[in-house]
């Protein structure tokens, strides 16, 4: 089964059409592979090259030397275990905070409907209108001295976790999903005497697994890919993320070791992508369009 597109099936059915189709298919698949996988191939193989070979002209296509040692050196010299642990810690912490606070907020706004609920939602969505980079400076100053509690969150995970909750887009996605859950279902639950918390746990959350999956993946990938914010708020080398840590050490190590470190840093998100490909793509088209 194929849907009807630009080129008509009749054209494709002709021998000449078939030939052109397969030739262009081969060209496109080859070209895309070269453009998108080629750099990754270069990254992984250069990690195995010797220091001279990496900067040799012309570059070698297949590594002439095989120094798996570079990867262990990168792991040790750049203390990747620590950077990796930090990044995972921030990412999953941010995920937990977003899941708890944003889900609760979306549930409240969608189903419990408190007074000023609409105004609050409006104010949350209004933050999407402000360019994120413009807010970085006042947000940074806030982290240095949080009002009311008067704490300095610099070099603490809270600097990543708490601001990550202010993801209006997540709340919007979740609320829209909760809105689509039929009211009768919740009425039945409250007739059985279920508290709002119970309703959320035993009815809403099980139904909402697809959207929770999407929100979770994007929460983790968001922290994993962020650069400017962790660079500003976690300057202590012991607290840095993978991105920032590798960047700040990038000038002090030989090219082949740095490239090996980059390869290692790329593996976790690539794994997430390969495993959750379907959810990610579904989330992209479900949420992406309707911002």
């Amino acid at each position: 089964m194929s849907t009807r597109t630009l080129i008509s099936p009749a054209q494709l059915a002709r021998p000449r059409g078939k030939l052109i189709y397969w030739i262009s298919f081969a060209v496109v698949v080859g070209g895309f592979t070269l453009v998108f996988l080629g750099p990754l191939y270069w990254l992984v193989t250069s990690g195995f090259k010797s220091a001279q070979e990496v900067i040799q002209t012309p570059p070698t296509l297949v590594p002439g030397s095989f120094e798996a040692d570079n990867y262990t050196r990168a792991w040790e010299v750049m203390d990747l275990a620590k950077l990796l642990f930090n990044t995972l810690y921030y990412a999953f912490g941010a995920l937990a905070f977003q899941l708890i606070f944003d889900v609760a907020a979306a549930y409240s706004l969608s189903k419990l409907r408190p007074i000023f609920g609409k105004a609050i939602l409006g104010m949350m969505l209004a933050t999407l209108m402000i360019p994120a980079t413009v807010l970085v400076v006042p947000q940074y100053l806030t982290v240095l001295d949080v009002p009311v509690v008067e704490r300095n969150l610099l070099n603490t995970p809270w600097a990543i976790w708490l601001p990550s909750v202010t993801n209006a887009f997540n709340i919007f996605l979740l609320k829209r999903f909760f809105d689509s859950i039929p009211k009768e279902l919740l009425d039945a639950a409250s007739m059985d005497g279920a508290s709002p918390m119970r309703t959320l746990r035993s009815i809403i959350l099980p139904i909402s697994r697809p959207i929770l999956g999407v929100v979770s993946i994007f929460a983790i990938v968001g922290v994993w890919k962020d650069f400017l914010w962790p660079m500003l708020t976690l300057p202590d080398p012991a607290m840095q993320t993978l991105n920032v840590g590798i960047y700040s050490l990038s000038n002090g190590v030989p090219a082949n070791v740095l490239i090996a470190a980059l390869t290692i840093a790329s593996i976790p998100t690539l794994l997430i992508f390969l495993i959750f490909q379907r959810n990610i793509m579904a989330g992209l088209t479900a949420g992406g369009l309707k911002g």
Partner: protein
């Protein structure tokens, strides 16, 4: 504004129905019930509310104050438009805007056109779609430091793969990131490679929603491929195309990470200094938060129009 008033009345009957049959519950006044309901609801909201208040709303307000204030040794004073004057009189001010606009225009040519064409091409094939989709989205999942430093190596005039590649076609070697004429272009190409996956997949989904009869009808009228694209594909995907266009303008005008990592921010002869990099410099290199906020405010005002258009269009799309 009548909508918020509607919701409590809508909810009220169901509560009555749900509490009556229980019978044993002593009747409470509707005021107390309402209060309890609101307290519970706000209890669920409180975590997000505190975070938004501290890390979104308060900084938003602070941004406006900062722009008109000056801090000397912890002493805050109002300085009116002084910060704005400092920013505008900075010799790099206009260059930063020029560079940012150049980046935006180039990013639109590449970052807007390329994903659309890629989506069109992928959509035509009856095989291997999953593989092609995977490839296109792969770079989006890389941590920026990996993809950016990767490009730094590819662009290297000494041993970079790119010069090798164009040398193969008999073209002269380029300095890429180190030449003020090609530095911004190089940043845009890298940025497109890194970020186009999302847009391409969104276009692809939109293309798959176009009814096939429209193409058939166009063929009966004797339309070729280009005319079909012009008269069927583009009008059918116009809303998504314009949404993505606006989103691209908003995000590319805020470009920071790519030039910061590729050229150190300023680039050769300041050729990749962008507005956001300038904000970064004011705030974190010169400790001049007032100037940073003033420049941020200018960017905000400029982008507000695009944001408003985006919100309006996406409402239309949702209805």
């Amino acid at each position: 504004m009548s909508a918020p008033g509607l919701s409590p009345t809508k909810a009220a009957p169901t509560r009555r129905i749900s509490s009556r049959p229980a019978g044993s519950v002593p009747p409470r006044s509707s005021f107390a019930k309402n209060l309890r309901r609101n307290l519970t609801a706000h209890g669920f909201l409180i975590g997000a509310l505190i975070c938004f208040a501290l890390f979104s709303w308060y900084p938003m307000i602070r941004e406006f104050f900062l722009a008109f204030q000056k801090t000397d040794n912890g002493e805050v004073s109002w300085v009116g438009l002084d910060n704005l004057r400092t920013v505008v009189n900075d010799p790099v001010f206009w260059q930063a805007w020029k560079n940012t606009l150049l980046f935006t225009v180039l990013a639109l040519v590449f970052g807007f056109l390329v994903p659309f064409v890629v989506a069109l091409v992928i959509n035509e094939f009856r095989h291997g779609k999953g593989y092609l989709r995977l490839l296109v989205y792969l770079p989006v999942m890389l941590p920026p430091v990996a993809s950016v430093l990767l490009f730094k190596y590819l662009y290297d005039p000494g041993y970079g793969l790119l010069n090798e590649l164009i040398g193969f076609f008999g073209l002269p070697e380029q300095q890429w990131l180190q030449d003020p004429d090609t530095s911004m272009l190089s940043v845009v190409v890298a940025s497109t490679w890194m970020n186009m996956g999302g847009a391409a997949l969104i276009y692809l989904a939109a293309l798959q929603g176009i009814p096939g009869e429209l193409y058939e009808a166009a063929e009966l009228d004797g339309a070729g491929v280009l005319r079909k694209i012009w008269y069927v594909t583009i009008p059918q995907t116009r809303l998504i195309l314009s949404l993505m266009l606006l989103m691209q303008i908003i995000s590319t005008m805020q470009v920071f990470v790519e030039p910061f990592l590729l050229t150190g921010g300023a680039g050769p002869e300041g050729s990749t200094t962008t507005v956001v990099y300038l904000i970064y410099q004011y705030a974190f290199n010169f400790n001049n938060y007032g100037a940073a906020a003033a420049l941020g405010l200018l960017l905000l005002v400029l982008l507000a129009g695009f944001s408003a258009a985006y919100v309006k269009l996406s409402r239309a799309e949702n209805e």
